[in-house]
């Protein structure tokens, strides 16, 4: 009986795409939480890296602008070390959003803990 072969992505590639999906939402929570303290783009990336979250620049920098356009972050250009940098911080709407997302995160976490 002839075999039918089905092209399947290698396991590592499937893991990578599922991992990215899993991280997508949590990155936003992490960024909002970290921006309770003011940071500029590169400093924020380093701060997140120090706590174990390695977010690509190409993901992080556009995300900051998107969150700002949604009113969750506020930003201002300011001089630091004789150079102009754009500093981001959590906006009032962002604080409310973070609180709700944090609650959601904890609920999901608790549910998963019961299954896993």
């Amino acid at each position: 009986m002839p075999h039918r072969s089905i092209a399947i992505e290698p396991l590592d590639e499937r893991f990578e795409s599922l991992r990215l999906e899993l991280r997508r939402g949590s990155v936003i929570v992490a960024v909002l939480a970290q921006l309770r303290t003011e940071h500029y783009g590169y400093a924020l990336r380093k701060a997140l890296l120090e706590i174990g979250l390695d977010i690509e620049e190409n993901t992080l920098y556009p995300l900051l602008r998107r969150l700002e356009s949604q009113g969750l972050l506020a930003s201002e250009w300011r001089e630091e070390d004789r150079r102009n940098k754009r500093f981001y911080r959590l906006a009032p709407d962002g604080e409310l959003m973070l609180a709700r997302l944090q609650q959601e995160w904890q609920d999901i976490n608790a549910s998963l803990d019961r299954i896993l």
Partner: protein, 340 residues
């Protein structure tokens, strides 16, 4: 690639209203990253180390695409042929080309009113648009493959190939589309070459002017219809290399002039294609059925050759239009910035 060049490349693909803001911010973040690395190493970064950071940051077109509010769009037939990064440029170039076609059709209508048959049917216009769609799509699919890293030679194959061929065809197309627009001056040798080619072609057209005989055949109305217009178009186009020789920084002028010339040539070719009959029999005696069949075959092949020439000219128009559009987006002016 320097940081300034990298940022300039990114800027090309950013939404114009946000380009300055995004580039300034990106510039500061990348400079901070450079400084961080310099502190780690205790010395200034070499050019190669800076390039390595920029390469890791991503290809300019993909970096810019992440800042676009709408990440949707794309052309998909089974698999994605043109992704969201290139799709806005693809639709823009396609729109420009269709617009040019409409202009050509309007000009044609004016010519038709003066007694010259031209684009006699709507199908002629539809065919022209279809060809444009095909050519533009193929160029962008090639560019997409280069950008996404597909279509490159396997490493061992690349090593076995001589110099230029080591880079895949999509890579080279991509460089044409994305790289050359950043050239900040027209080399004088290019202007000399452009002028020489134009002068030789004009000279040839002056020598081989209708009516002329080829054995028992002579030039027909098809040849006559494009000879004089082509001569005039090429003679006018000869002004461009003279201008860019004197003012090499007028790079956009070269793109604009070449695109305009190509469009005008396209119109003339289309006129000639519609007229047909590039060669006819000399008037000596009544033609036999065999002679008439042979004549029809010759004219058919001339028509096919002319169609191929039109497709090539169209592709060149697309390329020049692309360069012009991206150059104007980069510099906002036909003048290239002064070189430092």
């Amino acid at each position: 690639m320097t940081l300034d060049r990298y940022l300039k490349d990114v800027r090309t693909f950013l939404p114009a209203d946000q380009a300055d803001d995004i580039v300034n911010e990106l510039s500061e973040n990348l400079r901070a990253q450079f400084e961080d690395r310099e502190q780690e190493l205790g010395r200034a970064l070499t050019q190669a180390e800076q390039e390595s950071i920029l390469n890791a940051h991503g290809k300019p077109i993909l970096v810019a695409a992440r800042y676009r509010p709408d990440q949707g769009g794309g052309l998909t037939f089974g698999r994605q042929l043109i992704g969201p990064a290139l799709f806005p440029s693809y639709t823009r170039v396609l729109t420009i080309n269709v617009a040019i076609t409409v202009v050509v059709v309007i000009v044609a209508a004016i010519v038709a009113a003066s007694g010259q048959p031209f684009f006699a049917s709507v199908s002629g216009v539809a065919l022209s648009i279809l060809i444009q769609f095909g050519v533009v799509t193929l160029i962008f699919v090639a560019a997409e493959r280069a950008i996404s890293g597909e279509g490159t030679w396997p490493e061992d194959v690349a090593r076995s190939l001589p110099g230029e061929l080591q880079r895949s065809f999509p890579d080279r197309i991509s460089e044409q589309l994305i790289g050359e627009r950043l050239v900040d001056r027209v080399p004088r040798r290019t202007s000399v070459f452009d002028f020489a080619v134009t002068a030789l072609t004009v000279g040839w057209l002056i020598v081989v002017r209708p009516p002329f005989l080829i054995g028992e055949l002579r030039s027909g109305p098809g040849w006559e219809s494009f000879h004089l217009p082509l001569l005039v178009i090429l003679a006018i186009s000869g002004i461009q290399p003279v201008v860019t020789f004197v003012r090499p920084r007028l790079v956009a002028v070269r793109s604009a002039a070449r695109a305009a010339t190509d469009v005008a040539i396209l119109a003339v070719f289309a006129l000639s294609l519609n007229t047909g009959q590039w060669v006819v029999l000399t008037d000596a005696g009544a033609p036999t059925a065999n002679e008439l069949a042979g004549l029809a075959e010759i004219n058919r092949w001339v028509g096919i050759s002319l169609t191929i020439a039109m497709v090539i000219t169209l592709a060149m128009t697309v390329l020049e239009t692309w360069r012009l559009v991206t150059r104007l987006r980069v510099g906002g002016t036909a003048f290239a910035p002064p070189t430092m």
